[in-house]
Symmetry: C2
Subunit: 454 residues, 2 copies
C-alpha cells in the first residue's frame, strides 16, 4: 500500500486513500456519516496479511536492540490480574533481555510514540494526519497469551485498533451516561461492576480492525493459545467545537470591549444587592433585567467572534503536533533534502539551485504550510522542520512581508498544481527578483518542491 | 456630616446620604440617570467651608511628620513644564524638610492611599464604597501657585474632584473617539495638539466639585495667586459588563462542555481547508455552515452562563478591595471590638460574651459579609478583617456548614433589622446550641453586632 501511495501525486488524495485502505471495505463516506464519533465498528477480513509490513514483533525486538528505548518514556510494562492494574517500569533503558523477561512472566508491553522508531509507522501517521486535520498518534501493544494488560477504561481519542499478529478478545461497552459521550478526558480504571454488559464482544484476528469513538469503554485480553500484537491509531484529541470556542471567546470579548461601549459600560450600581448566589432565590424584577442584559451582550458577542483567527490558533497547534512528511523518492529528488550539492573529490559540486522564472513548483504537501495572521503581521507556519518525537522541536514560522502574502496564498491554493515561479503574483520588476527570492526561501525551508529535479 | 451620618442606622442609607452630600444640590437620582458615566458636571457652591474637615494641608504636614510616608509608594513628586511631565521621587522615606523643598521649587505632591493615614478619608471611602458596589479610592493633590503637576490624560475610573483649599483651573475634553468612551485602560500623557478644545473650562474653588467619567481628558493648573489642594475620589475601575463576562465565559464554556454533547463533538474533518485567515476570501458554502454552527453554539452558551456565580466572583474581589468599616461609637460599643473584657487590677474581667437566644443582632454593615458558593461548599466572605492599605490582608472567609447557611442568609437579608439569635432558622434543639454557636462565631469575627452593648 505505501509503495502504491507514493505514486499518488496529491497528498490529500494520498491521505484519503490510506484511510480508505485502513477501513476497507467500508466506504469512507459511509464511515464518517454513520460510524465516526457515533459507535464502534468491527471489520473482519479473514486475511491475516492485510496489514502486513506495518509493524511486527520482530521489528519490536529490533527496536529494543538498536534504539534508545526508555522505560516510562517509550515503553510501559503493565499487567492486569484479579482486577488490579499495575505498571512495572524499572528506571532507565529498556534492554531486550529485561523486556522479554517481563513478557515471559505475563506482562504486556506498550511502545509509545513508535513513529520515532519505525519509518513505516511514521509514514502512515504523517499521511493520515492530513486526513484528520488533527494529530494522528499511535501506541503498539504486545500481550502474552492468556493475559490482560489493562483495566477497562475509556479514552479521549478516536481509536483504530489494527490487529497485526495473533488474536485478542475484545469487549466494548457503551458510555455509561450522557456526560461520558465524546468525553474531554480519559477515564480512570473501572471495575467490572461499573461498566455493565458489553455491546460488542469479539476475537480480533490479524488483519482485522476495530474502531470505537472516545468514551466507549473497552478491554482486551489474550486467549490462552495466542499472543497479540496490535497498533492503536488515534486522532481527534481536544479537537472539538468546545476547544475552538475556548480559543475564541477571550479574543471575542476583547474585540467586543474594544469596539462596543455597551461592554465597557458599568454594571448597575446596586447589582450586588440582588445578584449572586445569596440572592438567587429572590423574585426581583431587576434580576430579570440583569439576565436579559447578559443575553443581549452574549448575542452581540457572537457578532464579534474572530472565527478565522481562532481556527488559525488551532491550525498552529496542529502544525506543531504534526509529524514531518516522510518523503517519497520523487519528492526527495525534487526538494532541498535531495539537492545534488555534495562533497566529491575534494570539491563541493553542484552548489547552485538555479531556480528561475520557468521553474515549476508547488507545496511539498497540501498541509505542510499555513499562512496565519496574528492581527498585525502575517506568518507562514510549516511542518517540514518538525521532529518524529512529539514537540521535540519548536513550531517553525517566519514573517511573510506584505509584498509576498499574495504569492504565498496563491501557492497554497494552487496545490496540487505546479505553478511557475514567474507566475507568482508579486509586484514584478523586469527580472522577477522578488519571485525568485521567495521561491528560493521556500525551497530552502523544504516547504516547496519542483516538478523536475533541479 | 460624618457626625450626622454616625446617627444613620442603616449603612446603605448612610452611604447614599454621604454621596448625596458630596454632589448636593444635584439629586442622586438625577445624577445617576443623566450624568454618571455620561458627561462631566460642575457644582459650584460659593461656600469654601462645604468640604471642611475632610482633609487639609495641615493634615498633610502632620502625616509627613508622623507617618511612614515612602516616595513612590505613598507620595509622588511631579511636575509638568513646557509640555514635559516628570516624576522627581527620590528613594526612601518622604520627610517634611525634603517634601516641602520640592513643593517650594514648584513641584506637585500626590498622596496615594490617603485612607491609610487619614481616618476621615478612610471613613468617607468605607461608607461610599457600599454605595458603588465597587472600590472607592482616593488620591490627594497639592499644587503650588502658578504650576501644573500632570500632563493632559484620561483615567479608567469615575472621578469626583473635591476642591478642599485654594483654587485650580481645570479643562475637560471629550473622549477623542468612540473607542475611548468609558475606556478600560488609562491613557498615556497627551500633547496639547492631540486633544482639541476643552468642553469645560472652570476655576474650581474650595467647596466646589467637578465630576467626569472615565475617558474624559482633563488637566488642571494653579493660578499664580493661589495654591490648590483637592482630593479625587474614584470608583468603578474594572466594573463593567465586560469584566463580568470575562469571569463568566470560561465557566460557561466549561459547563456547556460538561453538559452538552454538541460542544464535545469533533470539528468537521476538513475545516482547516476552508476556514482560517488564508481561506477567509473563499466563497465556500461550508464556511457559512461553520459560522452558523458557531452561532448556534454561542446561543446555547448563553443558557449555560452561571450569572450568579460570576457575580459572586466579582463580589469576592470587591470584598477584598473594600476598606474595613470605621466604627461609630454605637457600633464599637456593641461589637466585638468594644467588648468589655479587659485587664484590670491584675485580673481579666468581664470575659464572657453572654450571647443568648434573646440577644438581638444584625450584620455590622449591609455589605460587610457575603455568602458565596464555589460549586461544592458555601463560604462567608467578610470585610471586617481587611486593612486600610489596599490588599495588605488576604480576603477573609470561612466555610459555612449546610446547617447554618439558611441562618446566615436570613441574617444577611434581615439587615437593617435586628433579629434575635433564637429566631435563626437552624434545626433547633431545645437549648438552641447551634444558633448560639453561630452567633458567637459571627460576633467574634466582627461580622455582627448587638442591639445593646453586651
Amino acid at each position: 500500500i505505501l509503495a502504491d501511495l507514493a505514486n499518488v501525486d496529491n497528498s490529500r488524495e494520498r491521505a484519503s486513500k490510506l484511510l480508505q485502505w485502513l477501513i476497507s471495505p467500508v466506504p469512507s463516506r459511509t464511515f464518517f456519516s454513520e460510524t465516526w464519533e457515533k459507535k464502534p465498528i468491527l471489520i473482519q477480513r479473514k486475511n491475516p496479511d492485510y496489514y502486513k509490513g506495518l509493524f511486527s514483533t520482530a521489528e519490536f525486538d529490533r527496536i529494543l536492540r538498536e534504539e534508545d528505548v526508555q522505560y516510562g518514556v517509550n515503553l510501559d510494562v503493565t499487567s492486569y490480574t484479579n482486577g488490579r492494574r499495575e505498571t512495572h517500569n524499572p528506571p532507565g533503558r529498556a534492554l531486550p533481555y529485561n523486556v522479554w523477561g517481563f513478557y515471559k512472566s505475563g506482562c504486556s508491553l506498550r511502545l509509545l510514540n513508535p513513529q520515532a522508531f519505525s519509518s513505516t509507522v511514521w509514514n502512515i501517521l504523517s499521511i493520515l494526519q492530513e486526513n484528520f486535520g488533527s494529530m494522528a498518534g499511535a501506541n503498539i501493544y504486545l500481550t502474552p497469551p492468556g493475559t490482560q494488560g489493562f483495566a477497562p477504561h475509556y479514552d479521549d481519542i478516536e481509536a483504530f485498533v489494527v490487529q497485526l499478529e495473533g488474536k485478542k478478545h475484545w469487549r466494548v461497552y457503551n458510555p455509561r451516561v450522557e456526560d461520558e459521550v465524546l468525553p474531554v478526558f480519559s477515564s480512570p480504571n473501572f471495575n467490572e461492576a461499573d461498566i455493565g454488559k458489553p455491546i460488542l464482544e469479539v476475537v480480533l484476528e490479524a488483519g482485522d480492525l476495530l474502531y470505537f469513538p472516545r468514551g466507549f469503554i473497552h478491554q482486551g485480553d489474550c486467549l490462552p493459545d495466542a499472543h497479540s500484537l496490535h497498533i492503536t491509531i488515534s486522532s481527534y484529541q481536544k479537537n472539538s467545537w468546545g476547544d475552538l470556542l475556548q480559543r475564541m471567546l477571550p479574543a471575542a470579548l476583547e474585540i467586543a470591549v474594544e469596539e462596543d461601549t455597551e461592554f465597557r459600560r458599568g454594571l448597575p450600581l446596586d447589582y450586588l444587592t440582588y445578584m449572586g448566589v445569596q440572592n438567587s432565590d429572590k423574585d426581583d424584577p431587576r434580576r430579570q433585567q440583569f439576565f436579559s442584559q447578559i443575553e443581549t451582550l452574549m448575542k452581540k458577542l457572537t457578532t464579534y467572534c474572530p472565527v478565522d483567527a481562532a481556527v488559525d490558533q488551532k491550525a498552529r497547534d496542529f502544525l506543531h503536533d504534526c509529524l514531518p512528511p516522510m518523503l517519497t523518492p520523487v519528492e526527495l529528488a525534487s526538494s532541498v533534502k535531495g539537492a545534488r550539492t555534495r562533497w566529491e573529490g575534494g570539491q563541493v559540486t553542484d552548489e547552485s539551485l538555479d531556480i528561475n522564472t520557468q521553474t515549476r513548483v508547488r507545496l511539498l504537501r497540501a498541509g505542510c504550510a499555513r499562512l496565519c495572521s496574528d492581527g498585525e503581521a502575517v506568518h507562514l507556519y510549516y511542518t517540514t522542520a518538525n521532529s518524529r518525537v512529539y514537540h521535540q522541536e519548536e513550531l517553525q514560522s517566519f514573517e511573510v512581508k506584505a509584498e509576498f502574502t499574495d504569492a504565498v496564498e496563491f501557492l497554497i491554493h494552487s496545490y496540487p498544481k505546479f505553478v511557475t515561479v514567474g507566475s507568482f503574483p508579486c509586484d514584478s520588476t523586469e527580472d522577477f527578483v522578488s519571485e525568485i527570492v521567495l521561491a528560493e526561501l521556500l525551497f530552502e525551508k523544504g516547504i516547496i518542491h519542483t516538478s523536475e529535479p533541479l
